[in-house]
């Protein structure tokens, strides 16, 4: 408009202005074209194949558009922008990156258990997390771990070991990324607690806890301390500036700060409990102190599936293919072994309990109960033999763990706006001979089989 007005005022320059106007239009068009092209060039389109979205319907011969680090679109009728990089996946199976809800991934064994004290909520496992490959080797930066990527595992929960009553705070991290901080999805993500034999056998003789009674009492005592601390903090915060000057500010206490997060429901408690009675104790204490509860391992969970379903308590199950428990490790090994049933997952799922199947891998916390993370998809396959429907088995290693870990806004399914963590398999998942061929993380191809 402005140009037009000026042109009318100065007709001598009419011609020049006209050509300038034309040029401007052309320039703008070219600019738009270049920008579109540049943008579409950064778009990856995965074309064809069976897309197991995990939240919506399975899409046959669909298209997934990845822009930058995120999924832009997914569907049957998605248009591939010109210039997009096309990955041909026809005949393949495509699903979100595997989420392993319980691991000691990247934690050196000696960092797992702080056996100086049975209760150390202040400890944060992220401070022991080591994603830099082998010590004093490698090119620098985050080191891609081809073994874990070969299993399609892109997100893991990392936990302190289970030898303490309260081991500390766990984290949700990705298995590969640009920077250390870039790996972190959620931290702290939960408080890790153990009710059962491991804490009874971890400490010196004549040092509590040596019974389950003492474990429960320790939990209660510390949670009460946290309640009191919480009250004193808020009563101080509610004081006027004048009053604040008169009294002493409550001292900081990292242990209690961690437990307050639990009491405020900012993060849940993950309680490793296997015997039915231990699971009941966990539920009892969570009721008393009103915090969110997740059961870890849960060998006997199927026995109280109704209660777990009613209270909407999710269960993160350990592997069934490697349930090696010995008397050296836990007093109640024989009881646990007879309690163990491969139909646990199916029974819980049928009852409506949200389950995740996890590897418990890469650590010494419970060596006997662990599988390697790269085999997690196979472990889910085994569960299907014992009555778990295929779809539920796949969800138990993708969207369900993402939801339980509180990171389902970022990972766990193939949906627009989620992180582009996508794996391409050469056959149906859950089959023994199916392999992960490609892994995309944050929109980048980070693993190709055979490379």
């Amino acid at each position: 408009m402005i140009i037009k007005i000026r042109l009318e005022r100065n007709s001598d320059l009419n011609f020049l202005a006209k050509s300038m106007k034309l040029m401007a239009v052309w320039l703008a068009t070219i600019l738009v074209l270049i920008l579109t092209y540049a943008q579409s060039k950064s778009i990856i389109a995965i074309k064809g194949g069976t897309i197991l979205t995990m939240t919506g319907k399975t899409i046959q011969n669909g298209i997934i558009l990845i822009q930058g680090e995120r999924i832009k679109a997914v569907g049957e009728n998605v248009k591939i922008p010109r210039g997009a990089k096309v990955v041909n996946a026809s005949g393949k199976y495509i699903m979100p990156g595997i989420v392993d809800a319980m691991t000691y991934y990247g934690i050196r064994p000696f960092d797992l258990n702080d056996t100086s004290h049975p209760v150390t909520p202040q400890n944060r496992i992220i401070q022991a997390f080591y994603p830099f490959g082998d010590f004093m080797r490698g090119k620098g930066g985050i080191s891609p771990d081809r073994e874990i990527l070969s299993g399609g595992v892109t997100t893991v929960y990392i936990a302190p070991g289970d030898r303490q009553v309260i081991g500390g705070q766990g984290a949700v991290v990705k298995t590969y990324g640009k920077s250390f901080d870039g790996l972190i999805l959620r931290e702290p993500a939960a408080i890790d607690i153990t009710i059962g034999d491991p804490p009874k056998m971890a400490f010196e003789e004549n040092k509590s806890p040596v019974t389950r009674m003492s474990i429960a009492a320790l939990l209660r005592k510390n949670l009460i301390k946290a309640q009191e601390y919480d009250r004193s903090l808020s009563s101080y915060a509610n004081k006027s500036e004048e009053e604040k000057k008169k009294v002493e500010k409550p001292k900081r206490d990292l242990n209690l700060e961690a437990l307050i997060r639990l009491l405020h429901k900012d993060i849940p408690a993950r309680v490793e409990a296997d015997l039915v009675d231990d699971i009941r104790t966990a539920i009892r204490i969570s009721d008393e102190f009103d915090f969110n509860l997740i059961i870890d391992s849960g060998i006997g969970a199927y026995k109280i599936k109704n209660l777990l379903a009613k209270k909407k308590i999710p269960v993160i199950l350990g592997p069934i293919s490697h349930p090696f428990i010995t008397g050296d490790e836990v007093n109640s090994a024989p009881e646990l072994m007879s309690l163990m049933d491969e139909r646990n997952a199916a029974q819980l799922s049928k009852e409506g309990v949200k389950i995740a199947i996890a590897s418990f891998g890469m650590g010494s916390g419970r060596l006997g109960r662990a599988i390697q993370g790269k085999l997690l998809l196979l472990e889910a396959g085994l569960a299907t033999g014992f009555g778990l429907p295929d779809e539920e088995a796949l969800k138990a290693v993708t969207i369900y763990p993402a939801e339980i870990l509180g990171v389902d806004d970022r990972v766990g399914s193939i949906e627009p706006d989620k992180d582009a963590d996508i794996i391409i398999l050469d056959g149906p998942p859950l089959k023994i001979k199916t392999w992960v061929e490609m892994v995309f993380m944050n929109g980048k191809l980070v693993y190709t089989k055979g490379d």
Binding site: H322, G361, M362, L367, A370, Q372, L375, L378, T384, G385
Partner: protein
């Protein structure tokens, strides 16, 4: 009159047939499994075939075999039948109550697994449910020579009948980076030779004077040197294997490597000496890399006879089939993978005249599966041990639902 006689004869004959047939029908260990795909572990699978079992032994296998009247026919159309699985390296029954390792005694070939065998633990039935019907179970690996093993079926009322072989199968263990391990085993072999010599002298002489002192441990070792028993050596590192092979060259004994983590690195050396490899439990061990997982295929290609093992309780006995499936995932051909849990371990333990394949005359140890034997989803439906139905999944599933 004559026709009456004939009539009576006929009646008698019919009665006889009736009695004979009834006795068949009543005997639990005679039946025919009809309509399955049968993997015999020897040769190509037979489609839509029948296996006939009489008195606990396999009578015949094939498509058009004659089935005697009144014998029970079990319809297994669409199912898969494989031989009862064999684990060449287990500690089932021995491990319990801390009886696997006599730690204070590094050289103890006289120790016998049978004397530590816990038969009442539930693991035996769990093994059956997984389709494992025969195991070589023995002492642990905490000592250099930990003792003698036992080869036993996982199911049956009569212990004596269950045992295929007791004693022998001498278990040794070489753990990496301990220089004393192999010399102490070598010393035992040297002592054994002397012991043999002394007894030889005594027995070939006039037997005057006192006989040499008996030594139970060396007696077992003598059987090893005579080639009657094999040595089962727990071993992980390739350099230890090279050394141990030299020991074999020196003393000439029958040998299998157990666990065999790095055997693939010296596959030719092993193949050359005809030493079998009992390979790593593949499921989980933290730190087992893809290279090692592919090792089994490398050994197979080099011509080494391999057998999967669970090392129960390291991997639970019932998952033996999964160990073979995994080795197939990591490159072992399907038929070789099946052989690694059936006929190969049987041949290594020299019990292949009884078990390990579905062949005429062998024990009727049979597994009925509801899908391909190697697939994750596939379950064991029925297990027969010596022709006796040891496990029927349908019954168990039903009882589980009732508990609900």
């Amino acid at each position: 009159m004559r026709s009456l006689k004939l009539f009576f004869q006929l009646i008698l004959a019919l009665l006889f047939i009736f009695i004979v047939q009834n006795s068949f029908a009543e005997s639990q260990d005679s039946f025919a499994l009809q309509g399955a795909t049968i993997y015999t572990a020897k040769g190509a699978p037979l489609q839509n075939a029948t296996v006939l079992v009489e008195n606990g032994k396999i009578k015949s296998i094939g498509k058009n075999i004659r089935i005697p009247h009144a014998i029970k026919i079990i319809d297994v159309k669409g199912k898969v039948i494989i031989p009862g699985l064999i684990d060449n390296h287990s500690h089932l029954g021995v491990f319990d109550s801390g009886d696997a390792n006599e730690f204070p005694q590094p050289i103890g070939p006289e120790n016998r697994a049978l004397d530590a065998l816990h038969l009442e633990v539930p693991d035996w039935m769990e093994a059956v449910k997984g389709g494992v019907t025969t195991i070589v179970t023995g002492p642990g690996s905490g000592e250099r020579i930990s003792g003698q093993s036992i080869i036993i079926k996982t199911f049956g009322d009569d212990l004596d009948k269950r045992i295929l072989k007791e004693g022998g199968e001498v278990k040794m263990a070489v753990n990496a980076k301990n220089l004393s391990h192999i010399p102490s085993i070598q010393n035992t072999f040297i002592k054994t030779r002397e012991y043999m010599k002394n007894w030889g002298k005594y027995e070939s002489g006039d037997k005057k004077g006192p006989p040499p002192r008996r030594d139970l441990g060396l007696e077992a070792m003598v059987r090893v040197l005579k080639g009657e028993e094999r040595v089962r050596c727990h071993i992980h590192f390739a350099n230890d294997m090279v050394t141990f092979l030299k020991l074999k060259d020196e003393f000439g004994f029958d040998l299998t490597f157990e666990h065999s983590s790095e055997a693939y690195k010296i596959a030719d050396e092993i193949a050359k000496r005809n030493v079998g490899c009992v390979c790593l439990p593949l499921i989980t061990r933290v730190g087992v890399t893809d290279e090692i997982l592919r090792g089994n295929a490398i050994l197979h290609k080099a011509g080494v006879k391999i057998a999967m093992h669970t090392d129960h309780p390291i991997v639970q006995q019932k998952w033996l089939r999964l160990c073979a499936s995994l080795s197939m995932r990591y490159g072992l051909p399907e038929d070789a993978a099946l052989r690694s849990i059936t006929i190969n371990p049987a041949e290594m333990a020299k019990i292949d005249d009884r078990v390990g394949s579905i062949e005429k005359g062998k024990d009727a140890d049979l597994i009925v599966l509801n899908g391909p034997w190697y697939e994750l989803k596939t379950r064991v439906d029925m297990v027969f041990v010596d022709g006796i139905l040891a496990y029927d999944r349908m019954k168990e599933e039903k009882s589980f639902e009732e508990i609900d």
